[in-house]
């Protein structure tokens, strides 16, 4: 039992879901066609989140003269990640043995990987499929970082920064939080689909990068309205659809946990989208289309770490009234709690259940709204497309919130196997470490890029637009 209790989040969820009876390690890995079909689909869905999803979401927010530069930087840095991933990324993050920080380099260029091999973290799908799935996570994380420095960073700088950043920031953090012998994984940190590894990581790195790069010429006086919110709308839709590959895919199986992650990703996102518009109305403005899109992304980010760990989420900040209702429901059912029948207790707190997902999305939406509309102007830094405001802050709320909602008291699967206090402590520790590691790693990567290629385009190119200056093209000749 002790071994099982100390199981880390993702495998725990997968094991629990797959076969409550037989512990996952004993059974020899054998391909399950259903799981494989879903993981093949999930991998291409996360690619869709990058191209054309994020490329359009970010591109629409930029000015016309920089549309192609944003799309190409997002696409090219994702392509670069894929080459690096099969080179040394996969083996550094999810290879065999190694230590608490990185794995060994035995599988460089996928040495030894064949259609018949399996990764211990996903024993029912071919290793190639798991490798592709994790590859897309790395690609979208570096692509997200670019959001704060677009419209002024050189294409060549993005390539150099990306390569270094992946190697010294993403791969180690992915290993520490997700790999079997990872430092935080062993301590029982819960990050179902990347709240820390993807969103806090990219948000913090984006903030550090834009502080170093400095503001765009004319910011904030010169009006820089999004050149096409239609494109941002298309991007939002594709991000939401693709995100199921991200969240429900992280169950690494076509099972009940994937279903749970899917419904949480529907509900938390829907509530966050509507609440952002409400926040705008409350602060005296019209509910905006961009507000709805931003809320959708904030909700998606917040639910990511909790998707499969939350079970029907408990109420986080529900106010006195809701708390009372949940409390009454909980005391009646408390005695039936117990780790081993976790699966049955999953849904025990229906009444608090879905409200949790809704509230998680709502809380994340409001906090991100305040970060983007109040904090940024006051502090005056130019996080161009609000990567820190949405992904950094949203990720933190999700990651910390997971610690709370995972507990059986709120209907969570309690697969962290700890009391709320202990679980939240681990979450805080993981979040703090991620922030520090990402910040330092970004500073190093940025300065390497600065030395090798220089960071900013010339002021002429910035004024005329990076599309013409860096790529010799216009986005539109209509």
């Amino acid at each position: 039992m002790i071994l099982v209790r100390k199981t880390w989040a993702r495998l725990g969820a997968a094991a629990l879901a797959a076969s409550v009876a037989a512990p996952a390690f004993a059974a020899a890995p054998a391909i399950d066609k259903g799981d494989t079909a879903w993981m093949l689909t999930s991998s291409l869905l996360v690619l869709m989140m990058i191209v054309p999803g994020l490329a359009l979401f970010y591109g629409g927010l930029a000015r016309t003269k920089n549309m192609l530069s944003v799309m190409t930087q997002v696409g090219a840095v994702a392509a670069l990640t894929m080459i690096i991933w099969v080179g040394w990324g996969y083996t550094e993050s999810f290879g065999d043995n190694g230590n608490a920080v990185i794995a060994d380099f035995g599988k460089a260029f996928l040495r030894g990987v064949t259609p018949a091999t399996f990764n211990p973290l996903a024993t029912t799908i071919p290793e190639y499929v798991y490798c592709c799935f994790q590859m897309t996570f790395a690609a979208i994380t570096i692509a997200l970082v670019l959001g704060s420095v677009v419209e002024r960073i050189k294409f060549s700088a993005v390539m150099v920064f990306g390569a270094v950043w992946l190697t010294i920031v993403y791969f180690p953090i992915a290993h520490m939080v997700w790999a079997g012998n990872g430092y935080f994984a062993s301590k029982g940190a819960l990050d179902f689909a990347g709240g820390t590894v993807v969103h806090i990581n990219s948000g913090v790195s984006a903030l550090v990068a834009c502080l170093i790069l400095g503001k765009r010429i004319g910011y904030p006086k010169e009006p820089m309205p999004p050149h096409s919110l239609t494109m941002t709308g298309i991007g939002t839709g594709l991000l939401w659809v693709g995100w199921f590959g991200f969240n429900a895919g992280s169950a690494v199986a076509a099972n009940g946990v994937a279903g749970l992650a899917m419904i949480n990703t529907f509900v938390a996102t829907a509530s966050a989208g509507l609440v952002w518009m409400l926040a705008e109305r409350v602060s005296g403005h019209k509910g905006s289309a961009l507000g709805f899109c931003s809320g959708i992304v904030a909700g998606l980010v917040a639910v990511t770490p909790a998707a499969g760990n939350s079970g029907p989420l408990g109420a986080i900040v529900l106010g006195a009234v809701a708390a009372v209702i949940c409390f009454l429901a909980v005391t009646k059912l408390k005695p039936r709690l117990g780790y081993d029948d976790a699966l049955d207790t999953f849904g025990v707190h229906g009444i608090g259940g879905m409200i949790g997902a809704i509230v998680l999305g709502a809380v994340a939406s409001v906090v991100c709204y305040l970060a983007v509309t109040m904090m940024k102007p006051r502090l005056g830094y130019d996080d161009a497309l609000d990567t820190f405001g949405v992904h950094g802050i949203g990720g933190m709320i999700g990651a910390l919130g997971t610690g709370i909602v995972n507990d059986a008291m709120f209907g969570g699967p309690a697969n962290g196997g700890k009391t709320i206090a202990a679980q939240v402590l681990v979450q805080v520790e993981t979040v703090a470490a991620t922030i520090v590691w990402a910040a330092i790693g970004t500073v190093i990567s940025i300065y390497i890029a600065k030395v090798l290629t220089g960071l900013r385009v010339s002021s002429d190119v910035e004024r005329e637009g990076l599309d013409l200056g860096e790529h010799g093209e216009r986005a539109y000749n209509m």
Binding site: M224, P225, P226, G291, K376
Partner: protein, 112 residues
């Protein structure tokens, strides 16, 4: 001959054109412009970043007319483009020395 330039509200374009056809004006040229004046533009907000658009979309209509038609055309436009609200726009009359129809080479009055 005179060149009449009218700056009017975009949704009034059809009305003005039909009114001008009514008094025998067979041709005119239209271009989308943006105006700055007493009429303030809308405030637009993108994730908290507020922009008061100082420039308001307008339509510029240019009509070359014979001297006799000037008064009639000016009055017709003023009447059809009028809403009584700020930003109805302006009418300018400039002297037109020569005119020529490219297709036939006709000049001045015949060219209009």
């Amino acid at each position: 001959m005179k060149l009449i330039i009218a700056i009017i509200k975009p949704f009034k374009l059809d009305e003005v054109r039909e009114a001008l056809s009514g008094i025998g004006v067979q041709g005119l040229t239209v271009s989308e412009v943006r105006g700055f004046g007493r009429q303030k533009g809308q405030t637009e907000i993108y994730r908290g970043a507020e922009y008061t658009m100082t420039l308001v979309p307008k339509m510029k209509v240019e009509i070359a007319v014979t001297d006799e038609m000037v008064g009639n055309v000016v009055e017709t436009i003023q009447h059809s483009a009028h809403t009584g609200q700020i930003g109805d726009g302006k009418l300018f009359v400039l002297d037109l020395e020569q005119a020529l129809r490219i297709r036939t080479g006709e000049t001045d009055e015949e060219a209009l």
